[in-house]
């Protein structure tokens, strides 16, 4: 496969996968009672492979691994920190098996679940080491990219970037932050604005930045616009399928594949480089997004679609 950043720099829009958690819940809920979803990587890797396969067939160019909570700090909550290496290694192996070199494997690196001093109780050094351990095994196992995601504390995100760059100067790094809409604009719960995030991230050695989770596609269109105002780095956007609504007493994610795909046209106009989904999205959403993206890519003169896909 061609390096992912080359494709982005040539103007191609890439599609990332959708939600992992809800598909895992459908297939494997009984297996992780009392433990964490990442444990499935070890106990039932075939389920992880199956889900990755669904998204690849739906048209995803990038597959995220089931390692969102795979840092030793987070795994320690389930006394699984000693298995950090095995859990992360197994996740990448399963995704790679599904991909057969047709999709890039992005190692998902989620928040540590701890808060940094002074307002929290965790030393930056401890958090850095935790990320380092997870990212080290991910790169070693063959991840094509590192996706540091759903961050609300900028300093935590920066520690993960620093750890990645210590291990590899060249692996593409994504950082996504999660924002909440307030009367004063978009902020993370830690109080980070989009502009503040970009200012620090731009000098940190990251390649792709953006936002995931917390919002449906309409707010993420607004967030993407704000990002574009402040940066020339390639952007990634992964929206939730809306905020859950009640339908006959059952909570459901309201945004349909068609609705999200239609709104993705706006993301494309803004100049977003990678579009995927977060909570509540399914292979059907990714398939619909794929169609919109294909239409755009086919109209992009720099792309010779026949080669290198």
């Amino acid at each position: 496969m061609k390096p992912v950043l080359d494709r982005i720099n040539q103007g191609e829009i890439l599609v990332c996968d959708g939600a992992m958690g809800s598909l895992l819940m459908d297939r494997a809920k009984e297996y992780w009672q009392g433990t964490c979803p990442e444990y499935i990587n070890l106990s039932h890797p075939e389920i992880i492979e199956e889900i990755a396969g669904l998204y690849i067939r739906a048209g995803a160019d990038i597959i995220e691994t089931n390692t969102f909570g795979g840092s030793p700090l987070k795994l320690a909550g389930y006394s699984l920190h000693d298995k950090t290496e095995e859990i992360n290694h197994a996740a990448i192996k399963a995704a790679k098996k599904a991909s057969g070199n047709k999709a890039y494997i992005a190692a998902s690196i989620g928040p540590s679940g701890k808060l940094l001093k002074p307002f929290g109780d965790t030393e930056p050094e401890e958090m850095y080491k935790s990320f380092y351990r997870q990212i080290d095994v991910s790169i070693d196992a063959g991840a094509d990219m590192i996706c540091i995601e759903t961050m609300t504390d900028l300093n935590e995100a920066l520690l993960a970037v620093e750890a990645t760059r210590k291990i590899s100067a060249s692996i593409p790094v994504i950082v996504t932050m999660t924002y909440e809409y307030t009367s004063r604009g978009f902020f993370t719960i830690i109080g980070i604005s989009i502009e503040m995030a970009i200012k620090k991230l731009e000098n940190s050695g990251v390649d792709i930045i953006g936002s995931n989770c917390g919002n449906g596609i309409e707010n993420l269109v607004l967030i993407a616009k704000e990002y574009k105002k402040h940066t020339r780095l390639p952007l990634i956007i992964q929206a939730n399928a809306g905020i859950p609504e009640l339908r006959e007493g059952v909570p459901v994610y309201p945004e349909t594949p068609e609705f999200m795909a239609k709104k993705c046209e706006e993301l494309i106009q803004i100049g977003v480089s990678i579009i995927g989904g977060c909570c509540g999205t399914t292979p059907a959403h990714i398939h619909a997004i794929r169609n919109v993206v294909d239409l755009n890519n086919s109209q992009c003169p720099q792309l010779s679609r026949s080669s290198d896909r």
């Binding site: 819940m25 909570g69 909550g77 609300t152 719960i189 109080g191 909570p251």
Partner: protein, 209 residues
């Protein structure tokens, strides 16, 4: 400036050492302990809660303020207990079974503690049995439940139903919140109240106790 006002201001600034010093002084000056609590410590957290609600400040500032308030509470609490000044109410909180998202729940806990409530935090992945048994054993009047996932929200209904079937509705009231939860859902399942965030929960609790 009035020392109680100073305590309140230092909580707002998140300075735990100053709050500790000032509270010590206030106790030495024989200011009634209830007054130190209400007009100093809780007043400070009220201001912080309002600022948080209006997005003037965010999680770190609230946590720093709560730390500062706890520094004062440590001094005041033994006096309150010996003076028979009741704590406001006991609230059992947790993220429901199958759900591991606890940032929001923790924040609500910190803010409720800050507002003078006694919090029993069961963590995440909490079963309906544990919520109810703990509330019964600890004599808590409220159960606060959080869920982020649509798949785990029905656990809230299990808790509400169980409270009803055990005829505990008058003794234990249920508060629900979390990203996936709405006022409509609270009404649908018969929870006592929907709380959007920590300051919302404080407003509700203060209005009913």
């Amino acid at each position: 400036m009035n020392i109680l006002q100073q305590i309140s201001d230092q909580i707002d600034l998140g300075d735990d050492e100053k709050v500790y010093e000032l509270t010590t002084t206030a106790i030495e000056q024989k200011i009634p302990v209830k007054q130190i609590l209400d007009e100093g410590l809780l007043q400070g957290m009220n201001i912080v809660g309002r600022k948080f609600k209006e997005h003037e400040i965010f999680l770190p500032e609230v946590l720093m303020a709560a730390k500062a308030m706890n520094a004062g509470m440590e001094l005041v609490k033994p006096l309150l207990l010996s003076g028979n000044v009741p704590m406001k109410a006991r609230v059992v909180i947790g993220t429901v079974r199958g759900d591991l998202h606890d940032i929001g729940k923790n924040l609500v806990g910190v803010m409720l503690k800050g507002a003078g409530f006694e919090i029993i935090d069961l963590g995440n992945d909490v079963t309906p049995e544990r919520f109810i048994e703990t509330a019964k054993a600890e004599g808590a009047q409220f159960i606060g439940m959080s869920a982020l996932l649509t798949t785990t929200m029905p656990v809230m209904k299990e808790v509400v139903d169980r409270i009803r079937s055990e005829n505990l509705e008058d003794k234990i009231r249920t508060l629900i919140g979390g990203a996936a939860v709405s006022k409509g859902y609270a009404e649908e399942i018969g929870a006592t109240a929907y709380c959007y965030d920590g300051s919302n929960a404080i407003d509700y609790l203060n209005s009913v106790i």
